[in-house]
Amino acid sequence: MDITLPILILALPFTMFLILGIGGVKMSRKLAGVLGICGNGALLAMAYTVAFTYFFSGNPEFIADGIRQQVQLFDVTWLAFTERMVVNIGFLLDPISAMMLIVITTISFMVHLYSWGYMEHEPGFQRYYAFLSLFTFSMLGLVVATNIFQMYIFWELVGVSSYLLIGFFYKLPSAVSASKKAFIVTRFADLFMLIGILVLSYFVAQTPADGPLGGASAFNFLMLNSESSNVLASTIGATFLGGSVLTWAMILIFVGGMGKSAMMPLHIWLPDAMEGPTPVSALIHAATMVVAGVYLVARFFPLYLIVPDSLTFITVVGAITAFYAAVVACCQIDIKRILAFSTISQIAFMMVSLGVARPELHDGLGYMASMFHLFTHAMFKALLFLGAGALIHAVHSNNYTEMGGMRKYMPITHWTFLIGCLAIAGIFPLSGFWSKDEMLSAMYANNWIWGAWMTMVAGLTAFYMFRMYFRVFWWEENPHYKEHRPHDAPWQMSLPLIFLAIVSIFSGFIPFGEFVTWNREPYHIHIEMQVAVTSIVVALIAIAFAGWLYLKKNDKPARMKAALPGLWTAANRRFYWDEIYMFVTHKIIFNGICKAIAWFDRHIIDGTMDALAAMTQFFSVRIKGMQNGSVQTYVLWYFFGAVLLAVITWICLL
């Protein structure tokens, strides 16, 4: 395949970032908006062309004997540490990266269009579009990375874009804190990821260049994942605390993914990240950046299969996070926070699905299901966020107590939001049903405990989503509407909602198994009836319960809250994770460790320097009498010096 389009796919958003960033101050809002959207539209067309060429062209470069190939379209050396540890920049085209191309560019385009309406009256409009382009560039670079180091570079870039966009309203202290928190937590996780990368590549680089690993860079994905790489053999000698080095490396790499994908205990930044503008939340914190961790595990999947203990770790972390997030979401009042915790829960779902995937269990169904859910989740979560944005735009508040009975005033938003909620609850025949069903099948195949646990979480998901839906659109009309009638969003905001709703309805019918599987052979999806029926029944029960509580205004929710006040408060306060972190950092790290280190620095290190200076000063005061202005004294000293030199010379000559 000609490399023009791939290079343009990476170059275009970066160029847009530079143009809008540097020239933005001079541009009018309209021009910046048009430039941003057109640039992104061109990007959309290019990405779709590349992806569809990959999937449908039948070119033997891309599909041979029914197995889809992984093609490195270009791979240039950027930085060489040693002969084997070389950082390249390249473009890898394979099923998951092609799928992600479609997802990222679609959501990005929708968000660009939506933001035109949403951010109309905000200052810094041009800066916003510049940062959106930067984010798109970083995310695209991440998914098409040919080697782990390139992915790491773009990983950090994505973190930077997220920081810039969360802190977009930089005059707001809460937004500034939230952006710092996001960046610091993800950066902290990335430290572990870097250690994992280095451990892995160190051991891989030890193998001889003409051995089974070939002469490729120690960071390259294709090399690491290939069966002939025999990575385990190279690391088998080393163990650390009972686990093999490879297990440790893969778990450390996953910790980096935990930070980015907000798994417990590194999830604390995502609810706070809702301080950013709502389209940003839709793009970054629902559909694209937070799935980077899932994508990372999918990329390294063959390596993870070698050490199943790491997959067990991923499963456990994902399961606990999913349940935690679902419980917390049931007690939130801010609609964006509900959606944030829902995102955490759904991504944990994807992680669990990846964790339970095995080649012997339905041909690695969990992998395919996880990617399928990534695709559908991106669409309907973006839809939900954009719909929430429309609601917030109408009532100028995030709090759902300001809303109620919205169905009369905002019909488009109402119907699209309902479609999104049905999709996430997993109701037939919307897309969420198909992907969630496959995930649950994979989990049941591995161990019935995972299946049962995640079905419960799915039920909770349906419950809290419909709690929000009924509370916002039904319940009772808010008396404030008399003064300020909420109205449906302008066309720039409604069009993305409608498009995404259509996608959410029909994307479930895509035969995903033909496109994306763990070993790239086609897999025919079939529905397991008992799993499907169980999940639909659980979801319907949850929806009915939510309806019974929230359809019309009543005091049942209030009575339930009064009955278990401690539990409700704890869930509302996210089970005090933020307080735990504050305690550990302030009391233990700052007061305990840092104070001692600061004392050492101030008194011993600075003290030594100050003492040296004081000593110099003392001596200089003492000997300044040597320069008393009298020529004779100077000559005296000179003579002494000469005599001393002569004596030394004499001694040396002896």
């Binding site: 300044k624 320069q627 009298s630 004779q632 000559v635």
Partner: protein, 103 residues
């Protein structure tokens, strides 16, 4: 008893030591200059003696001494001009009255 090099160098050394004593001890600036001339003279004598006894065939030492004499003359002229100027400024030629250039 041959007149060897050492014989000529000993008076030179004594002259130099006398010059040092005079320089450090005297208070009058002209007396200081006189001691300085003693030291210079001793060094010139050294050059000539070395030339005669160690390198009889060449004349570098003598030429150096010639130049040293010329330069000593120039330097003495300037030094005396300065001393005269100082005498006009402070009224005496005491070396201890021009101690301004100190810490």
């Amino acid at each position: 008893m041959d007149l060897s090099m050492l014989w000529y160098l000993v008076p030179s050394v004594i002259m130099f030591a006398a010059g040092v004593y005079g320089f450090v001890t005297r208070k009058n600036m002209i007396a200081l200059l006189i001691s300085l001339e003693l030291m210079l003279n001793s060094a010139d004598l050294n050059f000539v003696v070395f030339n005669r006894f160690l390198f009889p065939g060449s004349m570098e030492g003598m030429v150096f001494t010639l130049f040293a004499i010329a330069i000593a003359a120039a330097e003495t002229a300037i030094a005396i001009a300065i001393i005269v100027n100082i005498y006009r400024a402070v009224g005496n030629t005491d070396i201890n009255s021009v101690k301004k250039m100190k810490y």
